[in-house]
Subunit: 228 residues, 2 copies
Amino acid sequence: MRDPESAGPASPRVQVHRHAERARYDRETIDAILDEALICHLGVVIDGEPLVLPTGFGRVGDTLYLHGAAANRSLAAALDGVCITATHVDGLVLARSAFGHSMNFRSVVVRGRARAVTDPEERRTALLAVVEHGIPGRWAEVRQPSAKEFESTSVIAVDLAECSAKVRTGPPLDPVSDRDLPVWAGEIPLRLVAGAPRPDPHLKAGIDEPPSVAEVLRRFPGPAPTGA
Amino acid sequence: MRDPESAGPASPRVQVHRHAERARYDRETIDAILDEALICHLGVVIDGEPLVLPTGFGRVGDTLYLHGAAANRSLAAALDGVCITATHVDGLVLARSAFGHSMNFRSVVVRGRARAVTDPEERRTALLAVVEHGIPGRWAEVRQPSAKEFESTSVIAVDLAECSAKVRTGPPLDPVSDRDLPVWAGEIPLRLVAGAPRPDPHLKAGIDEPPSVAEVLRRFPGPAPTGA
């Protein structure tokens, strides 16, 4: 892993141009943003036109894994060129001017070409990574994929060779000339919160919530009881 | 507006293929998903490769507006072809099998070509829509854009002619043959929650939180006090 302080973009194609001071090129930051994201947006080119679809994913080291139906056109198109983008909206930024409004966010952009995953062992690793990405500990709790389920699935891999992150935090950046305006300015933080789990209507009696559910509730906790 | 019950896809390019029963082609559903989304993911083609970036946006009737720096390459590329996708993750869906795991979500995909917005009045309408999209009521509270700020900004418009939504709700869809497995199954709902507003460090004394802040807190409320 490169030194975060000295890291630059892996290629000009993932260099952050606007607000370059918000760019992050170190893998520690990039991995953390990816690992916290429940979905990514998969961008491909089909018939010369862009197509962007939301999808789950998983990460194993330097590799992102995505899966879908065997006939999935986006996964096939990703072999010719792909952009995977994951974004967290962390808050609204209210400036004293209309123009100064912004959001606090963390995003990662990964570009490159996807590889079709055909090796059975790597396909299993990929599906495990996708399930565990959103729900750590879940794989060992559930029925493993059947041969038929595997056969109906396309899996692709995208290397994290060409990627960058962009992070905005903190208050609005109003020019000094705006500071005396009689306008409230500041941030409103936002985050994902899990609600109470809803058991499946067909759940058999006597089956308790497993550790993976508790883990999800820990990852997306509600506000502290003393909060507003 | 077309009858939701009879609505089909506006073009084959936005027809939902996988899980077609989750497709929604009525504008009421599409508009509601767009209006609740704080950001979209803007997909374009640059040098033959896909590029997907998160960005704010606004909607006025049948038109989506996006803005950025005048030199923004993505906005320029959008004139040749664009895909705008907005997604809400509403929950994790835990099935009894690894393969059956899913998420509850609402997404909208808009395809087409963007139009550069050059008319001063429409540019003002667009910037107003972007600010008000995330923070209703904010435009009237703040300093209006200066001529210089307008000049530094590119604005594009994308028509909602070719768009579709996909919505998944409810419990896992385990096959009957999985129902007797001793595995917990169900949903864990997720939603965005606003935290306590943080005033700008330079905020002058005596400036109270305005109605727009209260509106954001109403849009993204915390769990009810009786909740977990």
